[in-house]
């Protein structure tokens, strides 16, 4: 139960992070927009819980959970969402470009499937370095219709690279049901057609995800070549912080809510005899942590305008304009 408890805590922190960020967004505290992963926490938590710190991940536009689960600094992340000094990316990236290389989080990506070629290349680089680290590559069910996904499967299989592909199948690609634009049996069949062994898992069962990921990663790390994990989950909110996703079947949404990965983990912990108050405390602590991060971000200074001119290139960087 200790492990499930840890996973529960991790999911609770991801959930709280996004809930607090959404409140802050609605309050006009943070610029731009967010892609919340609420409802999908078990995938990020399950997979990242079985990675080593020196393993790498690549992520998507919906990457808060991945970053947090991989160990990214929460205050740095929140400040980044707020565009403040001390943000994980110095305020240059925002929500869609969260990265924390110090924990192997090689970045969210604003381009669907954009992380996939990067992931296979990172794996190839690790091989060259003689490292036994692996790369977990997250992408959505909408990404499997982009060419780079298929090129990446071929590439990883060809060079037997240490990559775990993780398809977060939340049934939707922005505003369109993913099934309605995806031909054939789906991602598992696609992977297998490249010789990449693949399996599906209930992506709202965090233990099942962790268990499957662990098994697959063991093969990958042993030099067995890439594997693909297909995690079925559900995006409980809209595509972005400003989308209600009102077009979805309310029954479907209601059913999905009952299947919330946090609810399921909680039920299991309760059934195993954990006190409800303990679980409530986990949620409350997570909330406190994230509200503190929000408060920290809110009081943090803005970056200096001149910082816009930094981090472009070493050679050929333009001088700061008269500001």
């Amino acid at each position: 139960m200790a492990r499930l408890m840890e996973l529960y805590r991790l999911m609770a922190r991801i959930r709280a992070f996004e809930e607090v960020a959404l409140v802050a967004h609605a309050a006009g505290e943070l610029p731009g927009y967010l892609h919340p992963s609420i409802g999908q926490e078990a995938v990020a938590a399950g997979v990242c819980s079985v990675l080593r710190r020196d393993d790498r991940i690549t992520s998507t536009h919906r990457g808060h959970g991945h970053a947090l689960a991989k160990g990214a600094d929460v205050r740095g992340m929140m400040r980044e969402l707020f565009g403040r000094a001390g943000g994980a990316c110095r305020g240059k990236g925002g929500s869609m470009h969260i990265a924390d290389f110090s924990v192997g989080m090689l970045g969210a990506n604003g381009v669907v499937a954009g992380g996939i070629p990067i992931a296979v290349g990172a794996a190839q680089g690790l091989r060259l370095l003689g490292s036994d680290s692996i790369v977990a590559c997250f992408f959505g069910d909408g990404a499997i219709n982009r060419g780079p996904f298929l090129e990446g499967l071929n590439w990883a299989a060809l060079y037997r690279l240490p990559v775990l592909f993780v398809c977060e199948d939340n049934m939707v690609a922005a505003f369109t049901a993913a099934r309605s634009v995806t031909a054939g049996p789906g991602v598992v069949a696609r992977a297998e057609s490249f010789g990449v062994a693949a399996e599906s898992v209930d992506g709202n069962d965090v233990e099942a995800v962790a268990e499957a990921a662990q098994r697959l990663i063991a093969c990958v790390r042993r030099g067995g070549g890439p594997r693909l994990l297909h995690a079925r989950t559900y995006r409980l909110l809209g595509h972005t912080s400003t989308d209600e996703a009102a077009w979805r079947d309310p029954d479907e949404v209601a059913q999905a809510k009952a299947n919330d990965p946090l609810v399921r983990a909680r039920d299991r912990l309760l059934a195993a005899g954990v006190d409800g108050a303990v679980l409530d405390a986990v949620l409350a602590e997570a909330r406190v942590e994230m509200e503190a991060a929000r408060a920290d971000a809110l009081q943090a200074p803005w970056p200096e305008p001149a910082e816009a001119w930094e981090d472009v290139q070493d050679i050929g960087a333009e001088p700061v304009e008269q500001l």
């Binding site: 610029p31 565009g83 990404a143 369109t176 309605s180 500001l323």
Partner: protein
């Protein structure tokens, strides 16, 4: 467009730019059953509402929501044109067209030429571009200069609802491929648009304001900044001749030359990065055509050569603003 230029019978309403483009698409789809739209989420109206409810009228075979497959969206649009249909290829935002550059650059732009005139790549590629709501580096680019440099494309960069509608109608009817940059930041801008939209010719600048002291050339989202700057300068007694190019290829060289020859001071302003931007072409062309001696001063304003940052103060620091235009104009007048 000045409403007084419209035929007296035309009904003119004030609507947003996004609505103006929707009206243009609807009008053309009603006129010609071979016009159709393909792109992600278009049957849900498109992410800016450009196609709202059009699927109800035209059905899912003509308002085609596609997979996230930009290369194929672009290339399939071309293929469909080659058999005689007239696709509108929706790229969602310009930055994603970078996933389809072989199809755009190596195929669409060159196919008519490579095949000695046999192919008619009558496609419109809609690519909302530019800064918008702290969208950061991968969702804010303005690379219109690239396509003015690339043979084979018409490049439209409208700034008002009427121009967007008129240029879009012209684009749909054109047998040339047209890369149509919707100005993201101006989707909500309003202006008069006739019920019946006439095609607007490519390559004719809009003379937004007349003035004798300085020629100010701009396009797309920068036009309102330019207008405000011109008003501010006028209050200081500086007369600004303001041109909105509306298309970058063809571009209205004659209008710019005439104005610059008269004012002898040229300021070109664009949201895109200054280095290598289309402003360089304009300044160089004016100098080549009129001779350097015809000018007292020339200058460009554009973004510094930086990816677009997320944080508002950083974005603001590198953004082209009314204030920067006014300051540059003043310094040019000193020259």
């Amino acid at each position: 467009m000045d409403a007084s230029l419209l035929p007296p019978t035309a009904t003119v309403e004030t609507i947003t730019l996004v609505e103006a483009t929707r009206r243009a698409v609807r009008q053309e789809m009603r006129r010609d059953p071979l016009v159709w739209v393909l792109g992600e989420d278009v049957a849900r109206g498109g992410i800016f509402g450009q196609y709202r409810d059009l699927v109800d009228e035209f059905g899912p075979e003509r308002i085609v929501s596609t997979p996230i497959s930009e290369a194929t969206i672009m290339g399939a649009g071309l293929g469909a044109a080659l058999v005689g249909t007239r696709p509108i290829i929706e790229m969602r935002i310009f930055d994603f067209a970078l996933c389809a550059m072989d199809e755009l650059v190596n195929q669409i732009a060159k196919i008519r030429y490579m095949f000695g005139g046999q192919a008619k790549p009558a496609v419109v590629i809609r690519a909302p571009h530019g800064l918008w709501r702290s969208s950061a580096a991968q969702h804010s680019q303005s690379l219109e200069a690239w396509f003015a440099h690339l043979p084979g494309l018409v490049v439209a960069v409208p700034a008002t609802p009427a121009d967007a509608a008129g240029l879009l109608v012209a684009a749909i009817r054109s047998d040339d491929p047209v890369l149509f940059f919707d100005p993201k930041a101006l989707f909500g801008a309003t202006g008069p648009v006739p019920q019946e939209i006439a095609p607007l010719p490519f390559g004719v600048a809009r003379h937004v304001r007349e003035g004798d002291d300085l020629t100010l050339v701009c396009w797309s989202s920068i036009v309102p900044e330019g207008e405000r700057a011109a008003e501010a300068l006028e209050r200081e007694g500086i007369g600004v001749d303001l041109l909105d190019l509306r298309t970058l290829w063809p571009w209205d060289e004659a209008a710019v030359l005439a104005s610059a020859a008269r004012t002898r001071r040229l300021l070109v302003v664009h949201e895109a990065v200054r280095t290598g931007g289309f402003g360089g072409e304009i300044v160089a062309r004016v100098v080549e055509r009129l001779g350097p001696g015809a000018l007292k001063a020339a200058r460009r304003i554009g973004a510094p050569r930086l990816p677009v940052p997320f944080s508002p103060p950083l974005e603001e620091a590198m953004r082209v603003t009314e204030a920067k235009i006014v300051a540059a104009a003043r310094s040019l007048l000193g020259a």
